[in-house]
């Protein structure tokens, strides 16, 4: 189960959004990741946490809309790392976990809906490009996931419609 306390403040990180926090009361949550991918980052020394909710694999060099700064894997990850650095996080200390990239419209439609697989590949590649090793991943499959990052502990949890939260 999650370690949410009574005074925990759940901050919803919507599609294309990213959130940073160093407040131990905060729990950053990306609800219902389908083909989207959530990226949780935690610097255990600086105690800075961030969660991004990526929608699509590539910005294809287009300008990113400020209202959805983490819409694309490439530009979203670049911005996520920049914000973390500005908040005092150090890249080599970051514990990065990823979840999502599913084909939730069923196995029969998986051939048509490849966006989840493409998102997962794009995210893995962009993190590698920045020299970041993924500490834990829960990608693919056919189930939607909710991902949450507890700022107090730096722990990341994933749950589905059918299964309770478990630590990633």
């Amino acid at each position: 189960m999650t370690t949410t306390t009574a005074e925990a403040r759940r901050i919803s990180v919507g599609i294309g959004q990213l959130a940073l926090s160093r407040d131990p009361r905060d729990v950053l949550v990306a609800y219902g990741l389908g083909s989207c991918v959530g990226i949780s980052c935690w610097d255990p020394e600086a105690k800075v946490a961030a969660l991004a909710h990526i929608l699509l694999p590539s910005s294809e060099g287009k300008r990113v809309d400020d209202r959805e700064p983490a819409r694309f894997a490439d530009s979203g990850i670049d911005l996520l790392l920049q914000r973390l650095a500005e908040a005092g996080a150090v890249r080599r200390r970051l514990i990065v976990k990823v979840a999502g990239g599913a084909a939730v419209l069923g196995a029969a439609n998986a051939e048509k809906f490849k966006i989840g697989v493409r998102n997962a590949e794009a995210i893995t590649e962009r993190l590698k490009h920045h020299g970041i090793r993924v500490a834990a991943a829960d990608l693919g499959g056919t189930k939607g996931r909710t991902m949450e990052l507890h700022v107090a502990t730096g722990k990341t949890f994933v749950r589905t419609a059918a299964s309770p939260a478990s630590e990633l």
């Binding site: 919803s12 919507g14 599609i15 294309g16 609800y31 219902g32 990741l33 389908g34 083909s35 989207c36 929608l55 699509l56 694999p57 959805e68 599913a102 084909a103 939730v104 419209l105 069923g106 029969a108 439609n109 048509k112 809906f113 966006i115 989840g116 493409r118 998102n119 189930k143 939607g144 996931r145 909710t146 589905t160 419609a161 059918a162």
Partner: protein, 197 residues
């Protein structure tokens, strides 16, 4: 015609589609269902899930793809308890008999998706004089946001705008009985604009 101008042109088609779909739902459930005027919008649809209970809601429903003169996506979603009630009503069972999405319930939900989704697609085809084929329904038991977001991402990844039509059905107690979401693929928007003009 710009995509924004397509919306009023599609409004009456969507309204008739929603009425026909609602009629199908009423007939299957054996009770009067009222229909809200459908929303048609361009852009991100976090709030499309509000009608079924917001971002943490788990829904049971079905997905159909549209092929033919245009291609696109149709989903009929029910908050989980409503879906189970629908199944009991359809099967003429005591309320509370169905407690989960078992094989019988999935079959009933599939039939609901088939009839209600096809009613909307047929309205679209009739009004716009298009040949459209709905696929067999895929039954889904999933977080509402994950479904909406996946269709949104797929359409968006093809380039162009996402136009989503959503209609909310209400039962006699004023509760959400279902949410119908229809999204054409971007390549079909041009064809829709030509015939809707």
């Amino acid at each position: 015609m710009a995509v924004d101008e397509l919306i009023p042109a599609l409004a009456s088609v969507a309204a008739d589609g929603a009425v026909r779909a609602g009629r199908g739902l009423s007939g299957l459930m054996g009770q009067e269902i009222s229909i809200h005027v459908p929303n048609i919008r361009v852009g991100t649809k976090n709030d499309a899930c509000d009608a079924v209970g917001g971002e943490e809601t788990v829904v049971i429903g079905s997905y159909l793809s549209i092929s033919g003169d245009i291609t696109g996506h149709v989903m009929l979603l029910f908050p989980e308890p409503r879906a189970l009630e629908c199944v009991d009503l359809m099967m003429g069972q005591e309320p509370g008999t169905t407690t989960g999405p078992d094989e019988m319930a999935c079959s009933a939900i599939s039939e609901l998706g088939n009839i209600v989704g096809s009613a909307f697609v047929n309205a679209l085809a009739d009004h716009l004089n298009l040949v459209l084929h709905p696929s067999p329904p895929q039954v889904l038991h999933e977080m509402a946001i994950a479904l909406v977001e996946s269709v949104y991402a797929e359409v968006l990844s093809q380039g162009g705008d996402v136009v989503m039509m959503d209609a909310v059905f209400e039962d006699q107690k004023g509760r959400t009985a279902g949410l119908l979401i229809v999204a054409p693929d971007p390549a079909s928007l041009g064809a829709l604009q030509r015939v809707a003009a």
